[in-house]
């Protein structure tokens, strides 16, 4: 069997595929973050918490009301999205126009609140959630065994990413959003209900995170802390892609998934640090990220 | 001998992604002149300023200051050589007092701007000079006022005073009277006239009455290129200039020239 740096080609192929899948997952998470920062200039440190809420609510909806995965796929993100709107309306709105740092502090506080409360109710060892039967098993690709669920994840994630990108970059609504965040007062002067727009945007952003949460529920251990681990990584993705660049977030997400995957093969201990190395290097040469507009 | 020219540009070009904003511009600014750069909107005036001060990097061409090539220098270095600009929108340090604003400029001459161990009092020796400069623009009484609280016109005056504090040999003014009306304009004209003593000034200005009152020489830019150059009389007489810039202002003295359109 042919080798690369002592790694069988077959294994490498598998790793790449896995990388792309995790990448799609990062893309979905960083997309929400990019939408929220790019359009609202809010540094959403509650993003991890929202991802966690998405997963937790999927499990809780099932345990409490017997709501199954398919329904949860819609209901959970909507619930979390609504929650996001509430947060925007009652908290974030009051610090509109203030320095980034305040939104960071505020959302970080919110994240601590949510995480802490849930920890006290559900503990940290995780909630049980079993995978829908249709996804049991997987396909044998010769070089690896690919669970059906991972296929589902990548397809769905990419669809949503593209849809979001199109809505923001190519539609009138998107234009309103982009402009409204620069000078909301003037936009209102043009007759556009910016406050509503902003609430909905934030709601939508966290909805994406929650959606990723639902996708994660069957495969990762669902705990109140699951979000805080992934938060910083996702931030790195957004920065490398260029803060606020929607397309950038998506492409970089996948890219990072692959790079991380390769690191996991060649030097596993560094797999959590490599993304930051990439970030430093990228920002050396492109001050506003791979796809960011020059500041 | 190019010594009589403080500033020269040779075939200066700036392109933005294919779009040529400044197209092969050759400027010659005489020592001691007040030189105006006029031209329709988007002609490239501000861009030229940005190139001269290195806020933008020229695509091609040379910039000579007192005969020396300064094209490779950085913004800060150029400022220290004695080319200082004022901005199209007034640039001040909003949360410092008027006096402190000037003092920051004066500190460039001192060599204490890195000494973080010295006490603030060590700057007081500059106050005298600050006051003189403030007085020269009629802001002495506002010395201790925080700059945000100054009215628009006064901010511009302060900015000018700050610029003067640098003892620049060449002063670049981008639309110094913009957004001003009535007597404010006149006062700025007076300021510039004062400032120009013993200096060279290059200014962009759309208010033709100001140009006609102040400037010794005028260069007209259009679509990035030099259209013509000369004294106000010649330039304003030039039909091309009228067509692209002044408009159908018939044979009228500049002063009342805007008064009736």
């Amino acid at each position: 069997m042919s080798m690369i740096f002592g790694v069988p080609l077959a294994v490498l192929a598998g790793q790449l595929l896995i990388g792309v899948i995790n990448g799609a997952f990062y893309a979905l998470l960083s997309l929400g973050l990019a939408v929220i920062f790019g359009l609202l200039k809010i540094i959403n440190f509650a993003h991890g918490a929202m991802y966690m809420l998405g997963a937790m609510s999927t499990v809780i909806l099932f345990d409490a009301l017997g709501i199954n995965y398919w329904v949860a796929l819609f209901v959970a993100p909507l619930l979390v999205g609504a929650f996001g709107v509430v947060i925007e309306y009652f908290l974030l709105r009051r610090i509109a126009g203030q320095d980034h740092i305040y939104s960071l502090l505020l959302t970080f506080g919110v994240a601590l609140l949510i995480g802490g409360v849930l920890t006290n109710i559900y503990g940290v060892s995780g909630l049980r959630y079993s995978m829908p039967d249709v996804f049991q098993g997987g396909m044998k690709l010769g070089f690896m065994f690919l669970p059906y669920y991972r296929v589902w994840v990548i397809v769905l994630a990419l669809l949503i990413c593209f849809g979001t990108w199109f809505m923001i970059e190519k539609t009138k609504l998107g234009a309103y959003l982009r402009a409204g965040t620069e000078d909301s007062q003037l936009m209102q002067g043009f007759g556009i209900n910016v406050p509503l727009l902003i609430s909905l945007t934030y709601g939508f952003g966290v909805m994406l995170a929650a959606f990723a949460g639902v996708l994660a529920a069957p495969i990762y251990s669902v705990t109140p802390v699951m979000g805080s681990h992934i938060l910083i990584t996702v931030f790195a993705v957004v920065v490398i892609g260029g803060m606020g660049s929607i397309g950038g977030a998506i492409i970089t997400g996948i890219l990072m998934g692959v790079i991380e995957g390769l690191t996991k093969t060649f030097y596993p201990p560094a797999s959590s640090a490599v993304i930051f190395l990439v970030m430093v290097v990228v920002l050396m040469f492109r001050p506003s990220g791979l796809f960011g507009k020059e500041a | 001998m190019s010594e009589q020219y403080v500033l020269e540009t040779r075939n200066l070009v700036k392109e933005f992604k294919g779009f040529v904003a400044v197209d092969d511009v050759n400027l010659k600014i005489r020592k001691g002149h007040i030189h105006a750069l006029i031209g329709p909107n988007g002609a490239g005036k501000t861009t030229v300023f940005n190139l001269l001060t290195k806020f933008l990097i020229p695509t091609r061409g040379q910039i000579l200051f007192k005969g020396k090539d300064i094209t490779p220098l950085k913004s800060a270095a150029i400022a220290r050589r004695g080319i200082v600009r004022s901005f199209q929108i007034s640039a001040v340090f909003p949360h410092m007092t008027a006096l402190e604003n000037i003092r920051v400029a004066l500190q460039t001459a001192e060599n204490n701007s890195y000494s973080f161990w010295k006490s603030g009092a060590s700057l007081n020796k500059l106050n005298q000079r600050c006051m003189e400069l403030l007085d020269s623009v009629g802001l002495a009484e506002f010395a201790n006022t925080t700059t945000v609280e100054l009215a628009y016109g006064r901010k511009r005056a302060l900015e000018l005073a700050t610029t003067l504090a640098m003892e620049p040999e060449l002063l670049l003014l981008d639309e110094p009277t913009q957004g001003m009306g009535g007597e404010d304009v006149d006062s700025v004209v007076e300021l510039v006239r004062k400032a120009a003593q013993g200096r060279t000034v290059l200014m962009v200005e759309h208010n033709l009455s100001v140009v006609s009152k102040l400037c010794d020489r005028i260069t007209v830019l259009a679509q990035g290129a030099v259209l013509t150059e000369g004294e106000y009389g010649e330039v304003s007489a030039d039909p091309r200039v009228r067509e692209v810039y002044m408009g159908t202002a018939k044979d009228k003295a500049p002063a009342e020239q805007e008064a009736t359109q």
Partner: protein, 381 residues
Amino acid sequence: EISNDTVKIGYLADMSGTYRDLAGPNGLAALEMAIADFGGKVNGAKIEVVSADDRNSPDVASSTVRRWLENENVDMVAGLVASSVSIAVSDILQENDKLGIVSGSAASSITNEHCTPNHIHYVYDTYPLANGTASAVVKEGGKTWYILTADYAFGHALEGDVRRVVEANGGEIIGTLRHPFPTPDFSSFILQAQASGADVVALANAGSDTTNAINTASEFGVTQSGQTLAALLLFLTDVHALGVEAAQGIQLTTGWYWDMNEETRAWADRFMEKTGVRPTMVHAGIYSSTMQYLKAVDATDSDAAQVVRKQMMETPINDMFAKNGRIREDGRMVHDMYLAEVKTPAESKGEWDLYDIVRTIPAEEAFRPLSESKCPLVTSK
């Protein structure tokens, strides 16, 4: 005699972080149960409890414990989960010559390099974990091993112990992989483990890393493809979170299981009334160790660290937690450990009916023999 007529116990544990569930608030409940069962008084002296969250931070822990010992004359510190915390606290205990009982930590170094005459390590450590599981699995024919190791002290220690045991029993380690802590997604690592073709995939990690790995392993059909999955540190709460669906068949070593006999069940029922969940081995250990401590205080009518420790060492432990357990001079409490196998969905008759006890590992076999000890208390002899 007992200092200022009170025996004061400080309970220090992670109350809000990653280790919350294996000791945490319920550990305090266990401690209080012990005191209540003991009668609330010892030799007429009243028993007080103070408690704090160590936030998994040695700073917080040490400033808390310092104040307890130096200003609030606490006599004994219980709980102690994160190894960084336990080691930091043991230093302070020695300075002030007070007693500490470590129930939650896994690091075997606590009674080895880091041993002091002022603390006892009660429930388990990495040595028996590796010992129990590894030797058993090798004996069942798992000859070639691939180890997924959490890339920090605990993981490295566990990996080392496993390597020793496996090779001692004629097995072979054909690959190890050190993954960052924590790792949200294990698919890449599991894939490499599968590619290695090893008989056994061992997990030298803990908490959410372990549960994530097991989840992914079952998703990628590790067991179906004929490999054995061995988790070296798995708590009841983890298995409960995984569910028998994903965890079935996994072999693991535990110091105690609630459903072993009448005695354990009886206590577990009382515990459940109080807390709503079944106890982990740590909870049981906290109860047992506190009892042992109070008995010693009672017998010696003293709360001086050395006196009590000596007494605790001299009296063998026979309660619902351990039979013939004893505390060695290095502070290690040695007792029988158990090799358990997670039940299949078919076998499991309830939320908490999770383990089959496959084999009992005798105390002397389970723990690191004193002959190998680096503890000054032992070597200086």
